[in-house]
């Protein structure tokens, strides 16, 4: 009888132990993410709510001379000001979006191309890698604003084309060259213009594609060489291998990079809309209006990110589906 009881008790005990391990692990998980949870609840949420609330208010310095502010609720007036009264905001927003539509494909294609290049074995690979990732580290924050005001750069490269009469000081290629090159091929002028301006903006594009390059490189390195080997044995060319193997294998990272690029170019300080919002922020009484503007802007970002992520994820190939 006692023996029986022991046998009965054993599985029960075991089951409880497993459950408690799971629970313990879940609890440990919460502990690990606790810094974020606390920071989010105590710092971020109040900030977030304040920002939303402030965008519906006006702000005046307190009359009694103390350093406080008086907030008055004005409803959607700030939003109305931003969209309808402010002459430049809506226009800046549109040009900003156009710029984005131009930048994101250029950055994605360039970083993928460079990652494929850097993934090949060649002399001086480490050296070139070090140079290409240099802007990620160095060309941020204060350096960006210094570079924006850098008239010396233009002055030093000026004069190269003095004889030609065109003022192509900073341009590496002029669209004329390209039009000549493309004139025999039946390619639309839009494409020619796109390529030309992409090449003229190459410094900007290189500067902003560092992280994407890193992510693509990591993805490329994680593709098993055995797949390439079997392709080679079957007689596939490099071109075919790229489209049939490399491209599908890294398509999840293309999605990640697309989203990252959009967010990055939306939030970078050199972005036109961001610059405009900052300039509004430093105007008198412009703080709340700039809050409202940046909320409008943020909603646009969210919608665009969602749409693009939705479209892309339909084409993404997931090799193995784990969780």
């Amino acid at each position: 009888m006692t023996n029986n009881a022991v046998i009965d008790a054993r599985p029960k005990k075991k089951r409880r132990k497993i459950a408690s391990l799971d629970r313990r692990k879940a609890r440990a998980g919460w502990f690990f993410v606790l810094p974020f949870v606390l920071g989010f609840l105590l710092i971020y949420i109040p900030m977030f709510i304040d920002s939303v609330v402030m965008s519906f208010q006006t702000m005046d310095a307190a009359v009694d001379g103390s350093s406080g502010y008086i907030m008055t609720f004005v409803g959607i007036e700030n939003y109305r000001n931003a969209l309808l009264v402010d002459p430049d905001f809506a226009q800046t927003l549109v040009t900003g979006l156009k710029q984005l539509a131009f930048d994101v494909p250029a950055i994605l294609i360039f970083s993928l191309f460079m990652a494929v290049m850097l993934n090949q074995k060649m002399a001086g690979r480490g050296f070139f890698r070090a140079i290409f990732f240099l802007p990620v580290i160095l060309a941020t924050g204060i350096m960006e604003s210094i570079a924006a005001a850098d008239t010396l750069n233009a002055a030093m490269s000026a004069g190269i084309d003095d004889g030609s009469g065109t003022n192509t000081t900073n341009q590496i290629v002029s669209s004329m060259d390209f039009e000549r090159l493309f004139s025999n091929m039946k390619v639309g002028t839009e494409l020619v213009e796109y390529v030309t301006s992409a090449i003229n903006n190459i410094y900007d594009i290189v500067n902003r594609s560092g992280v994407q390059m890193l992510i693509f490189l990591a993805a490329l390195q994680s593709i098993s060489p055995a797949i390439y080997e079997s392709c080679k044995i079957d007689g596939a060319t490099a071109w075919e291998t790229f489209w049939k193997i490399t491209f599908p294998m890294i398509s999840p990272m293309i999605l990640v990079n697309a989203v990252y690029t959009i967010i990055d170019s939306f939030t970078t300080e050199s972005n036109q809309v961001m610059t405009y919002i900052s300039s509004v922020y430093s105007r008198t009484g412009g703080m709340v209006v700039s809050s409202a503007m940046s909320w409008i802007y943020f909603l646009l970002v969210i919608v665009i990110v969602a749409v693009i992520a939705g479209i892309f994820s339909a084409f993404v190939f997931y090799g193995r589906k784990n969780d």
Partner: protein, 382 residues
């Protein structure tokens, strides 16, 4: 069977001889032709040249602005208006560097920025590591929702929160505690709560490491009924780093999460078997195994904090705090009044930029190997 096996080397030797004879008989010209004039070799050469040109070209594009900055920094004012001077200065001078070091307080700013960036980078690396590990290896309710929130903090542009972030730390007050304490002198468990206000302030003053380097304000930290004024201290950035909310921390958390996901579960399981708790496993097993990735994240955090002018501009509004991003100005002794003033001022500003990033270049030279390594082995594509 045996005889056949014995024969094989003989055949090999014979064919070898035949090849040698054939080789000797063909003239050198034909041999070179056969070697170098086939499509395989030619395509390889073309690809090699194309790649080299492309690589060198893009390197040039990346480095050219730095070249002009470096060249401009050694020029005397005359050189900048001289049309014949392009990249190599005629009158070599170190005036700009000397003036920036002497008049803009370079070394003090350097010390402050180093302390700030180092503390923030260490904290951010560790905190993001914890958070990323929690998201990667533990299953708990609300994990996906929480991760979505992490992504949200990355998507919301920081300009959106600029005003409220400023207000948050200008009148710092978690859950209205300070307001409660300062508002009424409530007796709490026989303890006069009014005394706590300054106590809290002195706690934050202690948090502000290296108080000599950055003077807070003349009066110390100010506690008003609305909250504590934390501006012009390290505290806002430290608090943001502790919460994993500072600049680009969402990206670090994402990278680290992917990295830890790529680590085999067996590593932890065996540690659990040996009686390690999750935290000891994390410290003793996981962290030592992820050093390249940690260095990568540290490098990002350090460099981006070093050059960041958004947060530092917002939180360090006082004029007498010296940080590297604030030294960008024309030193008084160099203000000139001749034709090329504007160019010269640009050259000075560029030189400031160069001096700001110079320590980062050295750091990068040492760490760039880890940068690629860390991400390469991250299994990010899993």
């Amino acid at each position: 069977m045996n005889a056949q096996a014995d024969k094989q080397p003989v055949i090999k030797r014979e064919s070898k001889k035949r090849i040698r004879v054939e080789f000797d008989r063909t003239p050198l010209k034909d041999r070179l032709k056969a070697k170098f004039l086939n499509t395989y070799f030619l395509t390889r050469v073309v690809i090699w040249i194309f790649r080299l040109v492309l690589m060198v070209g893009i390197s040039y594009i990346v480095l050219y602005p730095f070249f002009t900055k470096i060249a401009g920094s050694f020029m005397a004012p005359e050189d900048l208006v001289d049309v014949t001077v392009r990249l190599i200065p005629k009158n070599f001078s170190l005036d700009i560097y000397k003036a920036i070091i002497a008049e803009n307080g370079y070394w003090k700013a350097f010390g402050n920025t180093f302390a700030l960036s180092f503390i923030c980078a260490i904290l951010q690396t560790f905190v993001c590591c914890l958070i990323g590990y929690g998201f990667a290896k533990f299953k708990f309710k609300g994990r996906n929702l929480l991760f979505l929130l992490v992504m949200l903090t990355m998507i919301i542009p920081h300009q959106t929160l600029q005003l409220s972030m400023y207000m948050e730390f200008r009148y710092f007050d978690i859950l209205g505690i300070v307001r409660l304490l300062k508002g009424g002198g409530i007796e709490l468990f026989g303890w006069n709560v009014k005394e706590i206000g300054p106590g809290v302030a002195s706690f934050f003053e202690k948090l502000n490491i290296l108080p000599d380097v950055i003077p807070i304000t003349e009066k110390g930290i100010e506690v008003t009924p609305q909250g504590i004024n934390l501006l012009n201290t390290y505290t806002p950035l430290i608090l943001l780093s502790l919460g994993g909310l500072a600049f680009k921390n969402g990206l670090y958390i994402f990278l680290l999460r992917q990295f830890f996901r790529g680590m085999p579960d067996e590593l932890e399981e065996s540690a659990y078997m040996d009686g390690c708790g999750p935290f000891r496993t994390f410290i003793q097993i996981i962290l030592p195994n992820s050093i390249p990735m940690l260095i990568t994240v540290f490098l990002f955090a350090f460099c981006w904090q070093w050059t960041d002018d958004f947060y530092t501009g917002m939180f360090f509004s006082s004029m007498n705090t010296s940080l590297l991003v604030k030294i960008v100005s024309v030193p008084p002794s160099l203000t000139t009044n001749f034709a090329g003033t504007e160019l010269y001022n640009t050259a000075i500003r560029n030189t400031c930029g160069l001096m700001i990033i110079f320590p980062l270049v050295i750091l990068y030279a040492f760490c760039q190997n880890f940068l690629v390594q860390g991400i390469e082995h991250s299994g990010i594509a899993n």
